[in-house]
Symmetry: C2
């Protein structure tokens, strides 16, 4: 089901700047029992990302109306919320008066094998590097060709995620996830100052670590440092947390920190929904 | 006027991957007297750019039908031709079977002041740097937020173009143009191996230089090297060639090489249309 600017439809204007230039941002989250999980955090990110592009973010109440339309029809789904700068005339310069386009769309909740959660997943290192653009770093913009090209690198259904590096070979994240590693009890996640997307789950995990006084470093993380970690996991708002069980010939078993973080996020989700 | 997949319409599917991820490419060219100027070269680029993204480019004859529809209604216009990977399901991975979307749209020919051609234009240096992504370098993809952000930097109608640098401070091109400089009779244009768009006019100018045995270098070009050039000009398929008359406090008068190149392109266009 798709709701565009409050109207149930299948289409958008062909000259929307979201299509012409990728001039917009988006969020992807779970809808469970008609409730958009962690929507407050996603709305905050949506607003912050819109601000980075100087797009006026629709009011939360406006988006809530579209979410409610979808919740009534599909209480269990993946929710995608897109805000573009709206229709435009030709040329990179936005028109003097813009009216952002709001697209709220549902898709089926993916059914991942239970072993992804109990034993972890197999991942690979992508040859496609994350593009460097500090003005967009961290932002979940509609310019996502890096991720598309990286995801096109493999067909093997056994490989659940691909990790992307920056041009210097530092780990940035998965094609659709953020990544964390654990070494000697210290949690670590890549700094996203020149590329990558800073997801809601990443923020939640950092906040959880601070609350629980788990040491957590946000820093430049070389691939070898990550591969030598005791634990490695990826996260996003649809999958939750997946422990990485194998990358090439290296293997790990799900570790205590990954289990602890994963359980904490699930508990927080359940508490919010109770 | 907009023609999508051969049908006169205003809309496209909301979940087209062109909108969701900027997963597509485009061309912009002039239609004059019902003739798409330099269309052969643009079609070759469209095909090459599609190939870079592994998108199946529509046959030229298919696009020709849509162009003819527009030519009949608007024989003088700017023609924009967009090819996306087509509608998709959620997720970066393209579906196993994709059907590319073809959008052909017209917009009014811009009316630039005559002095832009006789005296040159004022330009500025953008603070927004060109994003680095070798996998997309040269490709005119729908991921154009760098250009949008750079173009948003100024409102002054006296400034016709902004020049963009790479993170190392080397000149890449204008927000909507390619750039050339001339020093001691040698033509030079930035190499576009890690960022930028390699336009049709740029190719034509390089080809013209080779034919006319004008020395032409395609290389890393520092900003200071460019600013110290005898002549500096920008080009694209809509504007043709604009000599740069001023950047900050530096000024130039249109030089002989710029005039010669500009005249040669116009003559070739006229000859093709005759």
């Amino acid at each position: 089901m798709i709701v565009v600017d409050g109207v149930h439809t299948e289409v958008v204007r062909a000259l929307d700047r979201g299509l012409m230039y990728g001039d917009g941002v988006f969020r992807t989250l779970r809808m469970e029992q008609g409730r958009a999980v962690t929507w407050s955090q996603h709305y905050a990110k949506l607003g912050a990302d819109c601000a980075r592009l100087q797009i006026e973010c629709p009011a939360r109440a406006t988006i809530d109306v579209s979410i409610a339309q979808i919740a009534a029809a599909q209480p269990q789904c993946v929710l995608k919320i897109v805000v573009t700068r709206g229709p435009g005339t030709r040329g990179y310069r936005p028109p003097a008066e813009t009216r952002p386009t709001l697209i709220v769309a549902s898709s089926p909740l993916p059914q991942y094998p239970q072993r992804y959660y109990s034993h972890g997943v197999k991942a690979r290192i992508c040859a496609t590097r994350a593009g460097v653009q500090p003005r967009l770093a961290g932002v979940k913009s509609l310019n996502r060709l890096d991720n598309v090209l990286a995801r096109m690198e493999w067909d093997d259904p056994e490989i659940a995620e691909g990790l992307m590096l920056d041009p210097q070979g530092n780990l940035i994240g998965g094609t659709m996830t953020n990544v964390f590693c654990v070494r000697d009890g210290v949690l670590c996640t890549p700094a996203l100052e020149s590329c990558g997307v800073a997801g809601v789950q990443r923020d939640r995990i950092i906040a959880h670590a601070i609350r629980e006084t788990i040491s957590c470093e946000v820093k430049t993380l070389s691939l070898s440092e990550a591969l030598n970690a005791d634990e490695l996991f990826v996260c996003n708002s649809v999958i939750g947390v997946w422990s990485l069980a194998q990358i090439d010939t290296r293997t790990w078993t799900p570790g205590p920190m990954t289990r602890r973080i994963s359980a904490a996020l699930r508990e927080a989700d359940d508490a919010a929904g109770a």
